[in-house]
């Protein structure tokens, strides 16, 4: 085992040197996967050649390892479970591929759903708080549509794309109603959206039943994709991946023994921090304390006093930027000088504005590398700035990638929801996004690289595993079910 770990660490360092060199070189402009990609042509032959009662013989993705989980981080790692999920791609076996294209359409409608309108927050009872993320997300998606319309819209018919925009932060699960309206009334061909974990789960259940593909660019809840439904694609690195890099940095690089946790008492905080908790326990460094706070409470003295009593070497926060900033300021005021780590939502202007100089030295997990040199990223940033008068941030960039991917799938597949799903589900190669390459796992999750963002000299700088030499535990090359040598848990 140790030998495996050493080899893996060495490979990471070597890869890091190569990658660091590569980051200085401008990547050539490649905005989408070529329409004449041979694997794509082959896929189209198969999905276009079936009737309602035949499932095309497509080569399903099979992953050797779920979510690139190191062996020492696997749940119940000492035994072989009865069954492992998400290693084999789910097929769509319904009749949808035989649906004929509609004869007359004026526009090709694509749905967008996100938190864009201010409302009452279910979490706080006060004002809703996710519009700061949802509006850039909507703008990123809109920019993608406008650019494709400038290229001729839906190329087969020379008609424009139209974005059907819905709000998802209404109360009482309103996102479900909105998806249903988009599916049945607006007749959209695919949907991009959702940030909040609860709304996202509601939305994908509806998408599954109504059979319309849902591309998610903003919900990092690990369980979002762990539902085994074949109508969902995610194009952002999730909190599992972000927790892995953060925990590896804290425990394997910095050698911490005891970290304290504080997180929002909502789905984002609860599920985001869970992988940090699991990882700590599995690495034999159980967290002494995990404090949950109510979003919007403002005063964190109770939580911080208890946190302080456990004498943690570092504190990790999982929640929104405002609370993350307030907690950091109050920590420093209380004389808590230990390093502060956080989730990606704290990499924001709002966080920096509230924390001021306290932000210096903060390290956050982050789903992509905005400092990467890439011609299409530069092009996107310029276009976004010109169109919306603001800098493109992470939600805008991921939504731009997700909507581009969806539009590309419509161009390839035509106006058929099942075939649009197929094209996304069987991408012939990683999607060349402005946020970096997006390789999809067997459960159609983005398993591309994630990063650490460090606040240094009043700016965020982004580091890969390789940049910081962060080792990873040994990742077994085959699934546990097929792996020999383990004791079986099967009764």
């Amino acid at each position: 085992m140790k030998r495996h770990a050493l080899i893996a660490s060495a490979l990471v360092v070597v890869a890091g040197l190569l990658f660091a060199a590569d980051r200085k070189t401008q990547a050539p402009l490649k905005e989408w996967i070529a329409f004449d990609n041979p694997r794509l042509i082959e896929l189209l032959k198969k999905i276009n050649g079936v009737d309602a009662f035949t499932v095309p013989a497509l080569e399903v993705r099979k992953d050797d390892n779920y979510a690139q989980t190191a062996e020492d981080l696997e749940p119940f790692g000492g035994v072989k479970p009865y069954q492992e999920f998400f290693l084999k791609q789910m097929e769509y076996t319904g009749p949808g591929r035989a649906e004929p294209e509609p004869e007359h359409v004026d526009t090709v409608k694509l749905g967008f759903i996100g938190p864009i309108t201010s409302t009452v927050s279910a979490a706080t009872g006060g004002k809703s708080h996710e519009e700061a993320l949802g509006i850039p997300m909507m703008q990123g998606a809109r920019l993608a549509i406008e650019e494709w319309n400038a290229r001729g819209g839906y190329l087969k018919r020379k008609i424009p794309f139209e974005m059907v925009t819905k709000n998802d932060n209404g109360l009482w699960g309103a996102s479900g109603n909105e998806i249903i309206r988009m599916a049945y009334d607006d007749k959209v061909w695919g949907i991009l959206g959702t940030i909040d974990g609860a709304n996202s789960h509601i939305a994908i259940r509806v998408a599954l039943k109504a059979e319309v593909v849902m591309v998610n660019s903003g919900d990092t809840d690990p369980t979002f994709i762990e539902t085994n439904i074949p109508w969902v694609v995610r194009v952002i690195g999730d909190d599992r991946q972000q927790a892995y890099i953060l925990a590896d940095y804290l425990y394997r690089t910095l050698k911490y023994e005891r970290i304290g946790l504080i997180r929002a008492s909502n789905r984002y905080g609860r599920f985001g921090i869970r992988k940090v908790v699991d990882t700590s326990r599995r690495l034999q460094k159980p967290v002494p304390i995990e404090m949950a706070y109510k979003v919007g409470q403002g005063d964190f003295s109770l939580e911080l006093t208890r946190l302080k009593k456990t004498n943690p070497q570092a504190v990790v926060h999982w929640g929104d930027a405002v609370e993350g900033a307030q907690i950091l300021n109050q920590m420093r005021k209380m004389g808590m000088t230990m390093p502060y780590y956080a989730c990606d939502r704290c990499v924001s202007d709002e966080f920096v504005k509230i924390t001021g100089p306290n932000a210096e030295g903060v390290v956050c997990a982050f789903p992509w590398d905005p400092e990467r040199r890439d011609a299409k990223l530069d092009k996107f940033r310029k276009a976004y700035r010109e169109r919306f008068g603001a800098e493109a941030e992470t939600y805008a960039a991921h939504a731009y990638d997700g909507m581009n991917m969806l539009i590309w799938a419509v161009q390839v597949a035509g106006l058929n929801r099942a075939k649009i799903r197929d094209v996304l589900a069987y991408l012939p190669e990683p999607w060349p996004g402005v946020t970096g390459d997006i390789p999809l796992s067997a459960c159609l999750d983005d398993v591309g690289d994630v990063y650490l963002a460090k606040r240094e000299k009043s700016a965020w700088h982004y580091y890969s595993r390789a940049d910081l030499g962060i080792p990873k535990g040994y990742i077994p090359p085959v699934d546990r079910l097929s792996r020999a040598g383990n004791q079986t848990a099967q009764k």
Partner: protein, 424 residues
């Protein structure tokens, strides 16, 4: 190739059972009495201990009157078969064997997508779960409508409905609502007053035998509401969660429900059957038994619903056919699939108690059985079964139906290969 395989299989069957090469015969022609249950520890049944196989089927689609082929729900009440589709409600007259009436939004149906149906056994009123449109009741030819703005219904996305005495329960995407239609009082069950870690209800059923209401909840497992305890003012909820608490594995097969993302639950003869997108489970009040596609009986991991017929038989609505488990010991499944313009029933059995997988012991070419292999909902109707699929409704006519296993002549071919080679 297919012909060669058939011939090969027939020869094997003929040699093994000393019967003429099998031909397709109707199950109704089979005469033998049902075998008594095997005593504990007894060896498994011989290959001639076979389950009933539905060989007589009828299909209903838009071609013979359904408002849409995408069927979400089917519910039988005597001669009436209620069908919910993504674009309307239909009533099939079973005796006449035809679609008798259709309601769409223009006919007063409050919303186009009908996701679940239950019938009040006392009044014959039809309660309708509307997928995005709330809850409706068809009574005396009139639709009454409740939604989240005009009533105590917690959300308009209603996945399932169940009538329990004077109450109707609605499983919604944001909790469960209960309406007492005598007192017009609403009760909402969610994370505040029930053990719902998540509130995304998927299915609700009522068991008169158990006097309990069961909820299948996406992310919160199976919840059981004991009506007797509730009447006594005692805590009435009981929850069943996946003991390993992990999304990416099922640690032990038989330790509880196999996953917390549950899609269906049914309780009959004291046995609870559950379905999920990760297999299914059976619970007899003391022992759990998990089912998965990896052992070759269950046709898929992905199940939209489950309907229990007895303690021994349940119909799993999978994306790869209707999987009926018809006997527990030896574990025996019959899987019905449509294949092009044909259909088949595959009988699988654990032929040795210690066998890790089930063997295919019979393949019956039935002609078209289920109208599509993507099964969404099921109901049991005496000897018959009704299956809602993504492309119509299938009616399995159970002439001569018998439960569990009995000795009978084979209806089809018995492949030589064990299930491991033929399982998906």
């Amino acid at each position: 190739m297919r012909i060669l395989r058939r011939i090969g299989l027939m020869a094997i069957v003929g040699a093994r059972h000393a019967v003429p090469p099998p031909i397709l015969v109707l199950a109704a022609g089979v005469s033998a009495s049902a075998a008594p249950p095997a005593p504990p520890g007894a060896p498994h049944a011989s290959p001639l201990q076979l389950p009933y196989v539905y060989t007589k089927w009828r299909q209903f689609t838009t071609e013979n009157g359904l408002p849409s082929d995408h069927v979400f729900a089917v519910k039988v009440n005597g001669n009436d078969v209620w069908v919910g589709t993504d674009d309307g409600l239909a009533l099939i007259d079973k005796q006449q064997g035809k679609v008798a009436k259709v309601w769409k939004e223009k006919d007063g149906l409050p919303f186009r997508a009908v996701d679940g149906i239950d019938v009040d056994p006392n009044t014959g009123d039809v309660w309708i779960a509307l997928f995005g449109g709330g809850l409706a009741r068809l009574s005396g030819g009139r639709f009454d409508h409740w939604n989240q703005l005009n009533s105590g219904l917690v959300n308009d996305v209603v996945y399932g409905v169940a009538v329990q005495g004077d109450n109707v329960w609605a499983a919604t995407t944001a909790g469960c609502s209960r309406l007492n239609f005598k007192t017009h009082q609403w009760t909402i069950f969610n994370e505040k007053n029930s053990p719902m870690e998540e509130i995304w209800n998927y299915a609700v059923t009522y068991s008169k035998q158990a006097n309990k209401v069961f909820l299948a909840v996406w992310g919160s497992g199976i919840l059981e509401y004991d009506l007797e305890k509730a009447a006594r003012g005692e805590p009435a909820w009981n929850e069943y969660l996946d003991p390993d608490r992990e999304m990416e594995i099922d640690l032990y097969r038989d330790d509880g429900i196999n996953h917390v993302i549950d899609t269906g639950v049914t309780n009959v003869d004291g046995v609870m059957w559950t379905s999920s997108y990760f297999g299914g489970s059976r619970y007899d009040g003391r022992h759990w038994r998990g089912f998965s596609d990896i052992e070759g009986g269950m046709p898929s991991l992905f199940h939209n619903n489950v309907k229990g017929r007895s303690a021994d038989e349940a119909w799993y609505c999978s994306d790869k056919g209707a999987g009926a488990i018809v006997n527990m010991e030896p574990e025996t499944w019959v899987v019905y699939t449509r294949e092009g313009n044909n259909g088949k029933a595959v009988v699988k059995q654990r032929t040795r108690p210690d066998a890790p997988t089930l063997d295919t012991i019979e393949v019956v070419e039935t002609g078209i059985n289920v109208p599509h292999s993507f099964i969404i909902n099921a109901d049991v109707d005496g000897n018959d079964v009704w299956l809602a699929t993504a492309h119509g409704v299938g009616w399995g006519i159970g002439d001569g139906y018998y439960p569990r296993l009995k000795e009978r002549a084979p209806l089809g071919a018995a492949p030589a290969q064990p299930a491991a080679a033929t399982a998906r």
